[in-house]
């Protein structure tokens, strides 16, 4: 499968990703640097002292030159230094936050695909029954109720009503407050609420498209042939129908990934999960330029490669597709 053509295709895509990341980072760089004020506003410096500080961090140079300097570092994996903390290197910070966000986002992706594909297949098999109507309505509710509402309700039920209130504040056992990456069951439980809050939204769309494409595939001749051969109904559904029905489902995966990343930004701020989304909101309010640009850059790289993987998976699901 990984022949020469595929490799050339991957190489082209990687070049395209690099180009996108450069354009995105430049755009964000210009935007954050043209905001009024700067990261040192809390120091109440004026005149010469402020000028010296700006000079020390190279902020008095033209934006394009600053970007060029930043880009030279970024190519070597150095995303610059944080201004608010006066010089903490950003790359390790962002990578650690990425690992946290990836955990949340990965769990949300599992919820999305698990719920979405299961519900879609069941709804299609039981077309026009109450099961179908219930599941499709549930799908619309899923992408109509904002994730912060589901998250708040979850906190209300599990933290407030189920006796986890301590001193009138939330007690929601997050694995990453102090004991990040504790592992085991507690991580799983505390990850589930953020993951479900994010995943319900995206799973709604997956349910609908899975149902639609299953309905189309089920009517085809080769499914009837498989049935006529006397194959078990479940085997026909999973092996023959679902595999082909997954191709359209793959096509919405890029928008699913975007939906999950948006959800992660919101949910991390609700649960105070120290991930990329929370860092982004903090950094843009504090005008910590390099952090904002760094988070954007990581996201752009992430989305680029996520889309590349989706496109390569097409060929795995449907062998007729070649690159």
């Amino acid at each position: 499968m990984l022949n020469r053509g595929t490799l050339i295709y991957i190489a082209q895509r990687v070049v395209l990703i690099a180009f996108t990341v450069m354009v995105v980072s430049f755009g964000v760089f210009v935007v954050v640097h043209s905001l009024p004020g700067n990261a040192f506003i809390s120091d109440r410096l004026h005149g010469k002292a402020l000028q010296l500080l700006l000079h020390q961090y190279g902020l008095d140079q033209p934006v394009v030159i600053q970007y060029w300097n930043w880009l030279k570092g970024a190519i070597h994996g150095d995303l610059g230094i944080s201004l608010v903390t006066r010089g903490a290197p950003i790359t390790p910070i962002v990578l650690k936050e990425l690992s946290v966000s990836a955990m949340v986002g990965g769990a949300a992706l599992l919820v999305t695909i698990g719920l979405g594909v299961t519900f879609g297949v069941i709804a299609a098999i039981r077309q026009n029954t109450w099961v179908d109507y219930t599941l499709t309505t549930f799908a619309v509710i899923g992408y109509s109720v904002p994730s912060f509402v589901i998250a708040s309700l979850g906190i209300l039920i599990f933290a407030n009503w189920l006796n986890n209130v301590s001193n009138g504040a939330f007690y929601y056992p997050l694995p990453w407050q102090g004991t990040y990456g504790g592992g085991g069951l507690s991580t799983l439980i505390s990850l589930s609420l953020p993951a479900i809050s994010i995943g319900l939204y995206t799973s709604g769309q997956v349910t609908r498209i899975t149902r639609a494409s299953m309905l189309e595939v089920i009517q085809q001749d080769y499914i009837r042939t498989a049935r006529a051969k006397g194959l078990k109904s479940r085997r026909v559904t999973v092996r023959h129908a679902l595999r082909n029905a997954l191709v359209p489902v793959m096509s919405i995966m890029p928008s699913t990934v975007l939906g999950i990343l948006t959800g992660v930004v919101v949910i991390e701020n609700i649960f105070t999960i120290p991930g990329l989304g929370k860092e982004f909101v903090t950094s843009i309010t504090q005008q910590d330029y390099n952090l904002t640009v760094g988070v954007f850059t990581i996201y752009a790289v992430l989305i680029g490669f996520a889309n590349l993987i989706v496109d390569l998976l097409y060929a795995v699901v449907d062998p007729r597709i070649r690159y």
Binding site: V24, V145, P146, S152, T262, V265, I284, Y299
Partner: protein, 304 residues
């Protein structure tokens, strides 16, 4: 208000204009199908109710929405204050009523901006092809390469806190879907005979785009536009919930929900969070069901 009158307007305009009679009955047929869809009818009913509430809130609310101390802070819902009061003793019902203004304005205005930008960009890209199309497609793909909420927040911070800037920021994150859809339509319609005929008879490019190609892509465009409304309202709710909202004291649902969330975090009852949350959820549900009904009725080929 505008949503419920949206379709008939289009229909009459269409019927009086360029089309033959059989196709008028196609639109009528669609309307009939829409009316038979119970969920869509209920959704339209709710949206009409919401429109009335919004208009009423412009002139009258039970209490002034921004008046502090109409009752004790955190007063539980009672007959006098149907939704209770927030931390500053502002009447929550009044604030939720006024909050509908922001949601509806953001939803409808964004849909309109995206409609204009997306249609123009998409038509041009699909009709011109060549390097114009390549450049536009690359720009679209770059926008798809960043999480939309981050673009919206950055633009919001750059432009400053105001309702108009929220609309601009959200439009910048959702115009691509419309542009891509119209581009696809434009690419296929430009190959049809009547476009070739128009070109051969020396019609101006702008007239070909807007008088020949655009009307023939109208069905999918309208359907897509109705789905932009809930997406815009949702994104606005995210923005305001995260603190990037309309300037205070103006009330909006995401902002009230965010206040309610902090109240919940300090151990107060959840009603301040629940009422705006229910309002947003019902509104989004209604727009989504209405959009679904519209698509099933007017664009039966498109499947999702």
């Amino acid at each position: 208000m505008a949503t419920t009158t949206y379709m008939p307007e289009v229909v009459t305009e269409y019927a009086g204009g360029t089309v033959a009679r059989e196709q008028v009955s196609l639109w009528r047929d669609g309307l009939r199908r829409l009316r038979r869809n119970k969920l869509a009818v209920v959704a339209m009913g709710f949206l009409a109710f919401l429109a009335v509430v919004t208009v009423v809130s412009l002139f009258w609310t039970p209490y002034p929405p921004n008046a502090i101390g109409t009752c004790q802070g955190y007063t539980f819902p009672s007959p006098k204050h149907l939704m209770g009061c927030d931390d500053l003793g502002r009447d929550l019902l009044s604030r939720v009523m006024v909050g509908s203004q922001v949601s509806l304005v953001v939803g409808l205005a964004t849909a309109f901006v995206v409609l204009v930008v997306g249609v123009v960009v998409g038509l041009v890209a699909g009709y011109m092809r060549g390097w114009v199309d390549t450049v536009i497609s690359v720009i679209i793909n770059i926008f798809y390469g960043v999480p939309p909420l981050l673009i919206a927040i950055s633009l919001y911070v750059l432009l400053g806190a105001s309702l108009v800037n929220i609309i601009i920021a959200i439009s910048a994150t959702v115009w691509m879907d419309m542009a891509r859809l119209v581009r696809g339509q434009s690419l296929s319609i430009r190959e049809r005979e009547f476009v070739e005929a128009a070109r051969a008879s020396g019609t101006k490019t702008s007239k070909i785009l807007f008088a020949h190609i655009f009307p023939n892509a109208l069905g999918p465009i309208i359907v897509q536009a109705t789905f932009i409304i809930p997406i815009a309202i949702l994104t606005a709710a995210f923005l305001t919930f995260l603190g990037f909202g309309v300037p205070p004291p103006q009330a909006d649902w995401g902002g009230i929900a965010s206040e309610g969330f902090s109240a919940l975090a300090s151990g107060f009852d959840p009603y301040i969070l629940l009422f705006p949350a229910i309002a947003i959820s019902l509104t989004l549900l209604a727009f989504n069901f209405f959009g679904d009904g519209l698509r099933d009725a007017f664009d039966p080929r498109q499947k999702r």
